[in-house]
């Protein structure tokens, strides 16, 4: 009887740890600062991936944006992202980008980079989505 209860406790602990892991990923904010968060459009949660750095510059009069994403969990996460470019009036520039898949291994950091469609683009947002675990 004692052995059964021990086995039951072990199983319960295992299940609890499995359930707890995604909850922890859910608690990780999508961005490391409110400034970065304001540039993101995230569908749901990023499953433990966080945008830690965001910078932009104009190269050859075209806006270029680079974001650093870090997977803060030990699990591999596949995210999808695309940039949205807008002009000074807030109107969309270009047709809209294709969603791009990106696998980020556990505890890995990856850069994502986007270049605007032309000099008309003066602002941007990054639309992101993560595959649920």
């Amino acid at each position: 009887m004692k052995q059964i209860s021990k086995q039951f406790a072990a199983c319960a602990a295992l299940v609890a740890s499995c359930i707890a892991a995604p909850v922890m990923a859910d608690t990780i904010p999508n961005a490391s600062s409110p400034g970065i968060a304001s540039k993101l459009i995230v569908r749901g949660t990023l499953e433990g991936v966080q945008v830690t750095d965001l910078r932009s510059q104009r190269k050859n009069d075209v806006m270029v944006v680079q974001a650093e994403t870090v997977n803060l969990t030990n699990y591999d996460v596949r995210i999808y992202y695309r940039f949205r470019w807008t002009d000074a009036a807030g109107m969309q520039v270009g047709d809209g980008e294709v969603w791009k898949p990106l696998m980020i291994l556990g505890q890995q950091s990856q850069f994502i980079k986007g270049t605007a469609y032309g000099p008309q683009a003066t602002d941007f947002k990054i639309e992101m989505s993560a595959e649920p675990r």
Binding site: N60, V62, V64, Y117
Partner: protein, 204 residues
Amino acid sequence: MKRISSLSKSCALVVLLGLTLTACQTRLSQPTVSLARQTTYGDNKAVETVTNEFGSTDLQMIAEKMVGSLLEDPVLANRPTMTLAGVRNKTSEYIDTKSIMNSIQTALVKSRKVKFTRSADEMQQGVDELQRQNQSGLYKAQGKAKLGNMAAAKYSLEGEIVSIVKQNANTKDVFYKMTLKLYDVEEGSIEWQDEKEIRKTSKR
């Protein structure tokens, strides 16, 4: 026991009533002509993973990468003239490379950072129109396109796409690499070059 059975009876009644009410609700029709709802329009920018052969997402990702890389390069600083040359398909698949180049051309034209001249494929139509305007005797002189005024391309965009396929009983791995080069037509030198690599793995 009696209490339980009466409870279950009332529950069943409530469910039945709910179902009846749902059936009475009229569903609004949608502005479509299809009755068999097997065809739907999807997101044309979504990631397509139906098979691991070359697909729409690959085409769009290649075009975006090449356009972005070209736009941020100083070679386009003074709005140069450019023409499209061929893209060699060295993969084992049929890939419409003209479609990739058209997507790249569309984005570059819309950026207003480059002027495209007619490619070799498109030249005959241009020549025909010039001859019609100049040799048919149908048009008044004012506004007529003159012969000998075409702008020559300073740069030529050409490239190739290759693939490496590996597979075993369970897994198929396909690696695509598209290389694009911008040649200075007069000098024959490469003024810009970039690559886009895509790996697709599928399991049975």
